[in-house]
Symmetry: C2
Subunit: 398 residues, 2 copies
């Protein structure tokens, strides 16, 4: 029996959420802190969602492929309240986590062999999806303020000179994974202008927007989707960070035609109405907003603890980002630090992190040894201890 | 902006679970009866699944792409208990309903332009998935005992003579949708022999196996998957008919290599652990088995009521199947009955059904006017009344 190309292309080693042993003080994954899951309230919400025959029928019968109208309303209301962003239900598609939205966008906008632009570094969970779709990935460097737009223009001009038309740019302008950086309003407008001039779809991954820790310094810049006047931005969002990944609820915001096309590729008969109605019941009467407020408090303290511990323990040769939201600090060490040796020593100390190599396609544009440190799951004391031990490993290698 | 071929291929009218108005006494869809959803028990099960921090972390954190080990164990145990079928966890993949399993199997075993064999008639929800994947669909007639194997051999020989190698056969040998027929053991073995000689993957849709109403007449024949000795059968199953479609839980049974490949195409970060753990808790201590026993009693009565009403009211020119399980009776009327006219008259009577045309690719192999009648959602009295009114419409057309 011959194996079709599709199957041969599958990379067996690329499971997006890794297996393998984690170190006791792991800073590896961008998982939310399970201690913050509102388990009891979600159980009560599920009971309410199943309480009457009519409600149970909504939650347990086949649902609508686009998503349950109640959840779509919840999101249109939330976008208007939180961002003053007016969208209609026809702009929204409910998906199995935002990963599914990224997969669907990839399938409707690109074909095997098409070029997709990604940031360097980028989120490996997304780049794995692009590779599986047979895309040719081209990196654009991320600078100190997020995606570097002169580099982007240069890359685009170079591709154009070679007759290559990239289909899509995948970007995380807000609390970027893995760097934690946020693109300024000015750069957002420049990016959209570039996308327009080179006719590129922009896939904006907006997984962390609600986890903004520095609101006292001013509001976040609007999303690319909100700034877009041409219908070329698809923005993805998720309940994974603000409720729980286990409900597998995400969404895509896009122009209605794109929503309709993605909808028709949802082979699975729609995203779980059971999970959708549980989430809707949970969010009623401001519970979700209050919960997000709690998450912001807790994660802000974790971020502050990590940054001050890094400040205290890391050698002067190290550089790191100052995230104003999300889960990650990105550390740059001199290229002389051998990545594999550092990881081995760190593990001997009982800590780990995501090695920067996993966030690049091939070589990083600027030589260096990079580490993504996640502060989401550890306690404050453990963050302090993890950074202290990691610093010890770094100093030993240097 | 040019539209890629993928997007152009999407058929905008092919939503698998239709919208549009249903008639008051609808026999259109194969949906389970919502009055039979175990809503209260599922709410209690969800509360148990979220009760301790450890359990809540399993149910609410990111899960395993293959599926949660507890649900996989539940299925391996169930297969051994109910069918004496021994499978290992490596043979199982949990999916978002069995539709997602059908989509994944299609993606790993076929490429755009490949030929997929389907039964005539077949389940439109599946053929829509194949069409969207760019498959060329070739029909094999279903006879009075299920898929007609001499026709299948003839079709395969014809394709071979033209140099066409079909990749996959999609079949429902047990309580076939839409005909309700079940293939005999002998024919199952012949079918596997054919698949082996012509080197074809067999995708066995086994959505209704647990809903067997005539167990007193003898056991069901084993599934094709159970009879297969070459690893060429993928069998799909679902909780939609035995628990609730809204949980969106299905599975694929396949050789480990195929499971692994399908797993790597699951872009969505795994099927909802929340729904999986709720189902596992629900099924504990035999609750699921007891519930299936109840479903069999209730649906058997519905089937009996529909068959006896048809016997009583339909004109002698009508023929129909005698399903021993599942949700459907398939009615054949003379070709002189104009399908559109019949549907219009039926709707005027307040009844509807799935017109047979939707179950064929183009013309049916044997001319006739066909109707799929679902008895799953109506009450016994409504089934009686629906058949009476449909008979009136049929007689009016004839």
């Amino acid at each position: 029996m011959t194996t079709p190309r599709w199957a041969q292309r599958v990379n067996d080693n690329a499971a997006p959420f890794g297996s393998g042993e984690l170190s006791p003080l792991s800073m590896m994954y961008g998982m939310p802190d399970p201690a913050l899951f509102p388990a009891e309230e979600l159980a009560a919400a599920t009971a309410r969602a199943l309480q009457t025959q009519a409600a149970a029928t909504d939650a347990l019968q086949y649902g609508l492929i686009q998503g349950q109208p109640d959840l779509i309303s919840l999101l249109t209301d939330k976008l208007e309240r939180d961002e003053d962003l007016k969208v209609t239900p026809s702009n929204l598609l409910i998906t199995n986590g935002s990963a599914a939205a990224i997969g669907l966008a990839t399938r409707i906008f690109t074909e095997e062999g098409d070029t997709i632009l990604i940031e360097a570094p980028s989120f490996p969970g997304a780049t794995t999806i692009f590779r599986r779709a047979g895309a040719c990935l081209v990196q654009i460097e991320v600078g100190p303020g997020g995606i570097d737009l002169p580099s982007a223009e240069c890359t685009l001009a170079g591709l154009q000179a070679r007759g290559v038309q990239p289909r899509m740019l995948y970007t995380m302008p807000t609390f970027h994974n893995p760097t934690g950086l946020t693109l300024s309003l000015e750069d957002r407008l420049t990016l959209l202008d570039l996308a327009s001039r080179y006719d590129i779809i922009v896939l904006e991954d907006d997984a962390y927007r609600d986890l903004y820790y520095d609101a006292h310094t001013g509001p976040l810049p609007p999303s690319l989707y909100a700034l877009d006047t041409e219908g070329r931005v698809i923005r993805t969002g998720t309940f994974s960070k603000i409720l729980a990944p286990g409900v597998r609820l995400g969404w895509a915001l896009a122009r209605p035609e794109a929503v309709r096309k993605m909808m028709l590729l949802k082979d699975e008969g729609g995203t779980s109405p059971f999970a959708q109605h549980a989430a809707v019941e949970y969010a009623r009467d401001g519970t979700l907003s209050t919960h997000i407020g709690t998450l912001v408090e807790v994660y802000r303290a974790k971020r502050d603890t990590m940054l001050s511990a890094i400040e205290r323990y890391f050698p002067t040769e190290a550089q790191w980002t100052q995230p104003s939201g999300g889960f990650f600090v990105w550390v740059t060490l001199p290229p002389s630090v051998e990545p594999a040796r550092l990881l081995t020593l760190a593990r001997e100390e009982g800590v780990d992190y995501m090695p920067g190599e996993s966030c690049f396609e091939g070589q990083p544009p600027t030589p260096g040894t990079y580490l993504r440190l996640s502060y989401s799951t550890l306690s404050l004391d453990d963050i302090e201890e993890a950074i202290k031990r990691l610093a010890k490993a770094i100093c030993a290698v240097m």
